[in-house]
C-alpha cells in the first residue's frame, strides 16, 4: 500500500475513533488496562526474579548445584523437608569434583555444601541448676545446697499441675504416673535428707529422672549447612559476620544464623518482649490490633519459668524484691509475680520491656548457646544411630538484605569435618581421637548401668554418643549430659582434609552468571565425562519451593493476563463488529467507488492498531510511572517469604525494555486478534449496498 493511502487510513482511523467516543473509550480502557497489567506485572515479577536470584545465588546456592544422581529427593536448599526427611544423597569425595569443575573456563569456584538437620540441647534450666548443685555439693556449701534444694522443690511444685493435666490426656498413663512419683520424691523432705548423705545418688536421680521432665524448649532444631568456612565468605557476597568472630581456618566450629540466634536461641521471654517493643515503637502497631503482638503477649505469662528456672538463687531473690516494688498489688511467690509482670498490654509494655532488660536480663543466660560457648549437636545418621558432636559457637552471621528472612536466616554454617562426623563418617584417626577424649571425660560421672548401656550400646561402639534411635527419654538425656561434659574436640584440620571427603552438594559459582545455561551445559558435560555419577541443577531448581514460587507467580500472572485478554478479545470483537455494522453504508460506498476488499480490511486493522498504540502506550507509560514510583519508595515485604523473594525488606522494582516490548506485542496481538473477525465481515460488504443506502 502506498504511503499516502496509509496516511489517509490512519487519519480516517483517528477520526473514526474520535467520532465513536463510547466504543473508543471502552476498547481503549481495556487495552490500557491490559497493557498496564502486562508491563507492570512482568516488571514486578522480573524484579522479584532478580531479587530472588540475588537472595539465592549470593547466599547459599551459587549459580548451579551439584549433587548425587541417585538422590532420592530433589535438592532443596531452602525450605523443604524437615529433620532429614529428605535424602539428597551424598558426594562421596568432593576433591575430584572440585578439581574437574574448577578447571572449566566457565567456573569460578566450587564450594561444598553439606545440608544437615541437627538437634541442640537448649533451654536446660534444670541442668544448670543441677550443675550448680553438683558444684555446691563438691565444695560442701551447705547454704547454697539448701537454697538450691528450695529452688528445685519449687521447680518440682511448678511442674506438678502441668503433669497432672497431661495425665488426663496422655495415652501412656503409666509413664506419666512414674514421672509424678519421681516429682513427689523430689518434693519430699526424705529425698533431700538422703541427698545430704549420698549426694551422687541423689544427683544422678535428679539428672536422669527429673531433668527430662522439663521438656519445654529443651530441643532446638538447627538447619546446618556445612561448608569450607574459609572460602565461603569470600565467594558468597551476601555473607556478613554479625557477632563474634570467623571460625579460624582449620578449626571446627559453627556460625549461627543471626535470625536463628535471635528467634530460637534467645530466651523466649526476651524474644517476645523484643517483638512487642519493636512493634510498638518502630512499626506503630498495637497489641490490641496486631495479632502478631497479641500472640506474643498471650504467650508471655505462660513462659515465666524461662525466667524463674534460670535465675540463680540470689538473683531470684533480687528479682523478686524488685518485682514486688514494681507490682505492689501482686501477691504470691516469684512465679506468680513473674506471671503478673509478663501480663503486658499497650500501656505497660514499654515499661516492662525496660524493666526486663534493666533488672532481669543481666541475671539470665539470655541465649541458650551464647557466642563463645560450646554446643552439642545431635544428628541421626543414615543407619539410624544418634551421633553427637560438640562445637564452639564462634559467632553469628547474616546474609545482607535478608536479615529478617527466616528462609535465608534458617541455615547455620558449620565446618565440614564436624558435619562428616555427625553424618556418620569418620576417619579412623578421628575415631580413635574422639574415643580417647570421651573415655577420659565424663563417663564415670554417669556411672549407672542403664546410662552406660545407653552410652556404649550392647557392643563397644566406637562413638560414645551413639544411642539406639527412638529412646528420646531419660536415658537419652543422660547421654546428652555425658556428651556435654566433654569439651569441644580440640582437633584441627588442613584445607586438604576439608576437600577430601563427603559433602551433600556443591555450589558452582560461574564467572559469568548471565551465561547460566552455557555454564550448566559445560558442568553437565564435565561430570558426565568424568563419570562422577552426579547431577547438576540451576539455582532456581536447587532452591526448592522459593525458587519455584516465582514460576508459580509468573503462571498466575500469565493466567490473569490471559483471562483479561480473553475478555478483551470478546469485548473488542463485539465493539468492532458493531462499528462494522454501523459503517456498512460507508464501506459499501468505498467499495463502489473502487476500494478493494483488502483496503477495507486494512481500515479496520489500522483503526484498532491506532487505538492499540495510543491506549497501549498510555497503559505502558502508566505502568512505567507506577513502577518507577515504587522503585523509588519500595514495596514493603509484609512477611518473611516475601522478604526472601524481594531480597530484602523492600522491593525496588524496575521496568526494562523487554517489559515494554512484551506489553506492546501482547496488546497488538490481542487487538489484532479481536479485530480479525469484524474486519473479515467488513470485507464481505457488497458495493451494491451503497446504492441502497438510505440515510
Amino acid at each position: 500500500m502506498r504511503g499516502s493511502m496509509s496516511l489517509v487510513l490512519v487519519r480516517t482511523a483517528l477520526r473514526n475513533l474520535v467520532a465513536h467516543k463510547a466504543k473508543t473509550s471502552i476498547v481503549g480502557s481495556i487495552i490500557f488496562f491490559g497493557s498496564f497489567l502486562v508491563v507492570f506485572g512482568t516488571a514486578l515479577l522480573d524484579s522479584i526474579d532478580r531479587g530472588m536470584s540475588g537472595s539465592i545465588t549470593e547466599s547459599l546456592a551459587g549459580h548451579l548445584q551439584i549433587y548425587a544422581k541417585d538422590a532420592r529427593d530433589k535438592l532443596q536448599l531452602f525450605g523443604g523437608g524437615f529433620m532429614g526427611g529428605d535424602d539428597f544423597g551424598a558426594i562421596r569425595d568432593f576433591k575430584p569434583v572440585r578439581e574437574i569443575l574448577e578447571a572449566l573456563p566457565e567456573v569460578k569456584a566450587v564450594v561444598p555444601l553439606g545440608l544437615q538437620m541437627v538437634t541442640v540441647m537448649g533451654g536446660n534450666e534444670i541442668d544448670q541448676t543441677l550443675e550448680e548443685l553438683r558444684q555446691a555439693v563438691k565444695s560442701g556449701d551447705d547454704d547454697k545446697i539448701h537454697s538450691l534444694a528450695v529452688k528445685l522443690r519449687a521447680m518440682a511444685d511448678d511442674l506438678l499441675p502441668d503433669l497432672e493435666r497431661r495425665r488426663h490426656i496422655a495415652r501412656d498413663k503409666a509413664e506419666i504416673e512414674n514421672q509424678l512419683r519421681d516429682l513427689a520424691r523430689v518434693r519430699s523432705d526424705a529425698f533431700w535428707a538422703e541427698l545430704a548423705k549420698d549426694p551422687e545418688r541423689g544427683l544422678t536421680f535428679l539428672e536422669a529422672h527429673v531433668a527430662p521432665l522439663v521438656l519445654d524448649g529443651r530441643f532446638l532444631y538447627f538447619r546446618n549447612v556445612a561448608t569450607d568456612l574459609t572460602r565461603f565468605p569470600r565467594l558468597f557476597d551476601r555473607f556478613e559476620l554479625v557477632d563474634g568472630q570467623m571460625v579460624p581456618p582449620g578449626e571446627p566450629g559453627i556460625l549461627l544464623a543471626k535470625r536463628t540466634y535471635e528467634t530460637w536461641v534467645k530466651n523466649p521471654v526476651a524474644r517476645d518482649l523484643d517483638k512487642i517493643y519493636q512493634g510498638l515503637t518502630t512499626q506503630n502497631l498495637s497489641i490490641a490490633t496486631a495479632t502478631e503482638l497479641a500472640d506474643a503477649a498471650r504467650r508471655l505469662p505462660r513462659q515465666y519459668r524461662r525466667i524463674s528456672f534460670q535465675l540463680a538463687v540470689e538473683d531470684a531473690r533480687t528479682v523478686e524484691r524488685e518485682l514486688r516494688r514494681l507490682l505492689p498489688e501482686s501477691t504470691g511467690d516469684l512465679g506468680a509475680l513473674l506471671q503478673d509482670f509478663l501480663r503486658v498490654d499497650d500501656d505497660n509494655a514499654v515499661g516492662r520491656y525496660r524493666f526486663f532488660y534493666d533488672v532481669i536480663a543481666p541475671r539470665l543466660p539470655l541465649y541458650t548457646v551464647p557466642v563463645g560457648s560450646d554446643v552439642i549437636l545431635r544428628a541421626v545418621t543414615k543407619t539410624g544411630y544418634f551421633k553427637a558432636a560438640k562445637v564452639k559457637v564462634w559467632g553469628t552471621f547474616r546474609f545482607k538484605g535478608l536479615e529478617d528472612s527466616d528462609l535465608a536466616g534458617a541455615s547455620n554454617l558449620i565446618d565440614l569435618l564436624t558435619f562428616r562426623e555427625l553424618y556418620g563418617i569418620m576417619t579412623d584417626d578421628k575415631q580413635r581421637e574422639l574415643q580417647g577424649i570421651r573415655d577420659a571425660v565424663g563417663v564415670k560421672d554417669v556411672a549407672r548401668e542403664d546410662a552406660e548401656a545407653a552410652l556404649f550400646g550392647g557392643d563397644a561402639r566406637p562413638s560414645s554418643a551413639d544411642a539406639t534411635p527412638g529412646t528420646l527419654g531419660a536415658i537419652d538425656a543422660v547421654a546428652e549430659i555425658a556428651a556435654a561434659k566433654a569439651p569441644a574436640p580440640a582437633v584441627t584440620f588442613t584445607p586438604e582434609e576439608v576437600d577430601n571427603g563427603l559433602t551433600i552438594s556443591a555450589a558452582v559459582i560461574l564467572k559469568d552468571p548471565s551465561r547460566l545455561h552455557q555454564g550448566l551445559a559445560a558442568v553437565q558435560r564435565a561430570i558426565d565425562a568424568a563419570n562422577l555419577n552426579l547431577q547438576v541443577v540451576d539455582w532456581q531448581t536447587a532452591a526448592g519451593i522459593p525458587g519455584q514460587l516465582v514460576t508459580v507467580m509468573r503462571l498466575v500472572l500469565y493466567l490473569a493476563i490471559f483471562i483479561i485478554f480473553l475478555v478483551a478479545l470478546v469485548i473488542i470483537n463485539n465493539a468492532m463488529l458493531m462499528a462494522m455494522v454501523e459503517r456498512i453504508g460507508e464501506i459499501g460506498t468505498m467499495r463502489a467507488i473502487g476500494a478493494q476488499r483488502s483496503l477495507v480490511m486494512w481500515m479496520f486493522i489500522v483503526e484498532i492498531l491506532t487505538l492499540g498504540a495510543i491506549a497501549g502506550t498510555a497503559g505502558a507509560l502508566a505502568a512505567l510511572a507506577v513502577v518507577s514510583w515504587l522503585g523509588h519508595v519500595g514495596i514493603p515485604a509484609p512477611n518473611d517469604q516475601l522478604q526472601f523473594l524481594f531480597s530484602g525488606p523492600r522491593l525496588y522494582p524496575a521496568a526494562g525494555l523487554e517489559n515494554l516490548l512484551l506489553g506492546c506485542a501482547s496488546v497488538c496481538l490481542v487487538s489484532l486478534g479481536s479485530t480479525l473477525y469484524p474486519a473479515r465481515m467488513a470485507t464481505r460488504v457488497q458495493p451494491v449496498v451503497a446504492m441502497q443506502a438510505k440515510e
Binding site: 499516502s4 493511502m5 460506498t589 467507488i593 473502487g594 457488497q686 458495493p687 451503497a690 443506502a693
Partner: protein, 235 residues
Amino acid sequence: MPAIVSLSNVAKDYPLGKTVVRALRGVSLAIEKGEFVAIAGPSGSGKTTLLNLIGCVDVPSSGEVTIDGRSTSALHDRELTNLRLHSLGFIFQTFNLVAVLNLYQNVEFPLLLKGHHTAAERKKKVEAMIDKVGLTPQIGQRPNELSGGQRQRVAIARALVTEPKIVLADEPTANLDSVTGQNIIDLMKALNDTLTTTFIFSTHDQRVISHARRVIRLVDGVVEDGAAQARGAGG
C-alpha cells in the same frame, strides 16, 4: 463509434423467499461515449437494478453487460473493483460521503485509491474539481456542515475527479428540493459538455427527464418504447 456501455438481452432475477423477482427481463441497449442519458420509469421498474449492472456493483443473471469493451459477468470481484475505480464514477441518491473526512479529503479519496498520482498532482486535480462544482470556499468542511445540494456537488466532484469514462447517478436529485435538483442537473450537463464524460442517471422526476438528451424508459423490467431510445429526445 463503438458503444461504451452495451447490454444485450440482460435479465436480472432477485430471489425473494420461494419466488423470484424478475427486476429486468431481456434488456438490450447501447450507450455511446459522451451521451447524457436519463433512465426513467415508475418505482419498481428496474432503474436501480439497471444502473447496478452498468456500475459493475452487480452482475446479470443472464445476458451480457459490456462496459468499455469488457464483459462484466466474466470478471472477479477484484477486476470489477478495478473497473469501477478506473472507468466509472458514482453519484448516489443519499450522497454517501465519508462522514469523518472533509470535503477535500472526500474528493481526494478515489485518487488515493488509484494511487498513481503525486501529492502535487492530486492537489491540483482535487482543487480544480472542487472549483468546477463551486465549493472552493467550503473546501475544509465536513459533510455534516454542508447542505444537501452542496453534498451532492461534492459527490459529483468525487465521481469526476478520476476522469472516468462513465458517471452513474441513481436518482441524484431525489433528496433535494426542485431548485437545487435543477442546479445539480445543470451542473452535470455542463460537465458533460466540457469533459465528454458519459452521464447515465435515473430519475422519475419529469422535469429532470426533460433535460436529458436521451431517455430510456423502463416499465416492469423491460425497455418500453424503441422509438424513445433514439437519440436527442430532449434538450
